[in-house]
Structure formats: C-alpha cells, structure tokens
Amino acid sequence: MGKQYETVIGLEVHVELATRTKIFCGCSTAFGGAPNTHTCPVCMGMPGSLPVLNRKVLEYAVLVGLASNCEITRYCKFDRKNYFYPDNPQNYQISQLYLPVCQNGYVEIETEDGSKRVGIHEIHMEEDAGKLIHDTWEDCTLIDYNRSGVPLIEIVSEPDMRNAQEVIAYLEKLRLLISYLGASDCKLQEGSMRADVNLSVREAGTQKLGTRTEMKNLNSFKAITRAIEGEQQRQIDLLEAGEPIVQETRRWDDANDCSYAMRFKEDAQDYRYFPDPDLPPVRISEEWLERMRAALPEFRREKMERFRREYGLPDYDLQIITQSAHLADLFEETTALCKEPKKVSNWLMGEMLRLLREREKDPADIIISPAHLAALILMKDKGEINGAAAKEVFEAMFDEDVDPHSYVEEKGMKVEADTDALREVLGQVVAAHPKSVADYRNGKEKAIGFLVGQTMKVMKGKADPGAVKEMLRELLQKES
C-alpha cells in the first residue's frame, strides 16, 4: 500500500484595479491604446520624475481588505523591489514589503465538507509592468509601457487550500467580493485577475511543509485545475522515486497541458527591497477608515436575503442573479421600471445567460440598459410582439442595447392583433383546411393547434399565437 499524500496550496492573486489613471501618475489605464500612448516620464522611470499615489488605489485596497476581514495597517509605506528586466523601466517595481496596507484577514469558502476559512496573509499595493512583444522578424523585443504603472493589489493567502476545488472556490469568492466593490472586473482571461499557485505535497498526517514550487501563467479556472493536478502528481512522483523537489518557478503551458521550470541566467532572487524615498508614508485615520467601512456595499448574502424579501424570488433565481453585482443591479433597476420581478429574472437567467455563454462574455460586459429591458418586457406583456420576436429583440439589445420600440418598428415585427388582415388570414386558413375544422368540431382539441400553426405561418410569425387561438375558437363556434 502506497503512502498517502496531502497537497498544500497558497495563492498569490494579482488584481488590476478599476481606476481611471495609473497608480503614481495621471496617465490613462484605458485598454487598447496604441503602444506607448498612455505613458509619461513617471511610468517610464525617467530620472527626476516623482510618483504621487492615486487616492482611489488606496481606497480600493482598503475596501478589499475590509471585505476580507483584514486588519488595516494604519501607517503604511512603499518599498522598491529591485530587478532588471525590460518590462520594468525603473529597474525597480514600487511595491510594499514591510508594511502592506492590509494584513491577517480571511474569506469563507464553501467546500464539500462545509464552509472553511482561507486566511489572507496580506494585501499590498503595487504597479504593473510593461508588455513585451517578441519581434520574430528582427529577433528583438519590442516594449509597450501602456500597462506600466497600472495599479494592482496582490492578495497573498495562507497555505490553507488542499485541492483545486478549494482554490477555485477561493478565487470565485475573491472575484465576487471585489466585483461587488467595483474595485476590478477580475477577468482571468484578460489578465485583470492573475493567480500564481504555490504548491507542495507532504505525507498525510505530517505537519512540516514540503518544498514548494510556484506556478505562473494560469489564465482560466480550467488551466488552474489542470496545473494543480499535474503539479501535485509531479511532486508525488519525485518523492516516490526518492528524488528531491527543487524550489522553483514553473510556467504553465496551456496548449501542451504541462509546466516547465523557468530559468533565468542571473537567478539571484535577491530583490534588495528598501523604502521608496520618493513616496511619503500613508497614515490612515480612524475617521477615514470609518468612512470606508460605511462605503462597503451590500454583499451577496445580504442582497439575496433582501431580494427574497422584497421580490419573492425563488432560491434558484437568487443564486444566479446575485452571482454578479452588475446582474443584480440590472435586475433591480429593471424591476423598478416594469414591476415584474419574476419576468425580469426569467430573462436574465434564460436568454441573458445563454448569450453570455455563447458569446463567451462575463456578466460585467452586459450593456443592456434597464429602461430597454423593462420596455421589452412590457411590450411582450401587452402582446405587441410574440415570444420569438422578443428573443430576437433581446439579442439585438444584448449586442448593441437597441431601443426595443424603434427596433420592432424598423423590422416590422409588431404583432397583428385583431386586425382585418389577421381576420382575413384566419378565414383563408379555415377555408383551406376543412378536415381540421371538422376534427375540432368533433371534439379533437388538438386540431386547433394545427390551424394556429398555419395562421402563424401565413402571418410570418407576426401574430400572438394565444390570441390567434382565441380568435379561431370564436370563429369556429360562430360558424358551426
């Protein structure tokens, strides 16, 4: 019988904050600008330039700390982490080593064995690096510093996780808290949330931690899961073979489903941190902290409770709608306009989720305005458009937030209700299908469905099937 092993995992999560400007200068953080058009002497590390802290970065960092039960460091400062690499024009990254802004917190996650606390060792503020692009033609490296100085927080967990499921639950929890705070959209694919996995294995029942490795470049929950499973097996195989585990940084290769050690020529991991003399320390007053506490939003649990109370939604709906603050806000604002909570919820759970999946988007990307969604729901309620048309309009709203009234008008999707045109078609359909008419009159209720279908076909869908059915009943009764 082989040995039993336990996997021990801690995470370093980098989150890009949703500020308008960089952490230490007034350059835009907007995505997709032409290379180096969002740069200045500060974020390019020009000698003599002076960084000044963005107030919003401190606010977001403290809010995330409060939401994850951290102690807020009342006197904190910035340090320089020295390293030479072209993505870093200053030759040091401004970060926090000695007095990080938040410390000793935790979040609760749900696991198969019930809820569990994952400790947060610290959260610190730092700046992002530039982007390196390999130019194959010239065989050189091109550098775009637009990302240089974009604000990040790094959330360092305690080694409290034991498997991939717990890691995913922890990341989901962080993403939920942070997106509810509006501090970041936390998209793994786009890099606004990045997770480095520190993993070691040890014999089950022992206390001493094994040698750990750090894994980088994990861009999806799937990659994280695969990487964790692969790395724990790799380490167990080494231990079983009596070989040592080397403490190293490994890069996950998603395409090949494996990781490999990253080697640097000069691998001296000595960052020679020291306090940044350009940035004066930050002292957080009780009064300011109190304002931050008051600014904490309603989080998921409270929101679910309130939605249950105020709108009478079932648990299933609550689970889905509150998974994103944006979705929850859209629900609430739309309901305020159309007074139909369950119908709003159905649209969000049905078509909205379907389209998000199909277009591979995140709830944070939803652009539909509450006014347009409310209008669509009311139009369908009044029978102005039928179900199929409503779905088509919804899709157009999903892509471009079109005004449903003008869209329906333009596309001629309005339902013909009780008009002469509709009556004429009904007459034709009845005349053309004497057998179905006879079947219906002989008590075959199903036959009317066929006649409704024929009518809808001639009307090209621009009729309300329910109303058509009623009109047919009336017509057939009259004529018998």
Binding site: T19, R20, T21, C25, G26, C27, S28, A34, P35, N36, T37, H38, T39, C40, P41, M44, M46, V52, L53, N54, R55, K56, V57, L58, K77, N82, F84, Y85, P86, L132, I133, H134, D135, E138, D139, C140, T141, L142, I143, D144, Y145, E266, A268, D270, R272, P275, P277, L279, P280, P281, V282, R283
Partner: protein, 97 residues
Amino acid sequence: MAHSITDETIEYVGILAQLELSPEEKKQARQDMGRMLDYIDQLKELDTEGVEPLSHVLSVENVMREDVVTNGDMREALLANAPEEKDGMFTAPRTFG
C-alpha cells in the same frame, strides 16, 4: 578595518547591480564596502531605544492625487530618448528563450 569583504560578495553584488568590474575596481569596491560596514557598526553604538525607524526624510504624509487623467499622448517625446524604436515601441535585445 574590522570588516573584510570577500571576492564572492563583490561578485554577487556586482551581478545584482548588473556591473562588470575590473580587478582594480573590485579591490576598490571591497575597501569601500568594508568602510561602509564599519560606519554602520559605529551607528549601531547609538542608543535608539524608543526611536521610531525613519522611513522618509521629510515629515510629510498622505501626499495623494485624485484619480483624474491629466496626461495626454507624449509618445513622440518619450520615444525621442530611445536609441532604437519600431512601430511606436522601444526595442531591446531579445528576452525570450
């Protein structure tokens, strides 16, 4: 001189600072570093009981700016400092494996 710096230390510090030193420079650097450490020893003799570590030379705190974009596109001026550029980007020797 109480402190003597080994050749290994000088080599290591040189690598960290990305400096290539000649044998004469290494010798000079060893002496300089030894003197610096001697001076640190001298400072250590001071009684600092109850004195907060100084992290900034000015007695200022909480210097912050609002989250407002104040910079426009300065690419041309900034790239003017670069020895080489391509497609609006700086070029550097290849860094990928």
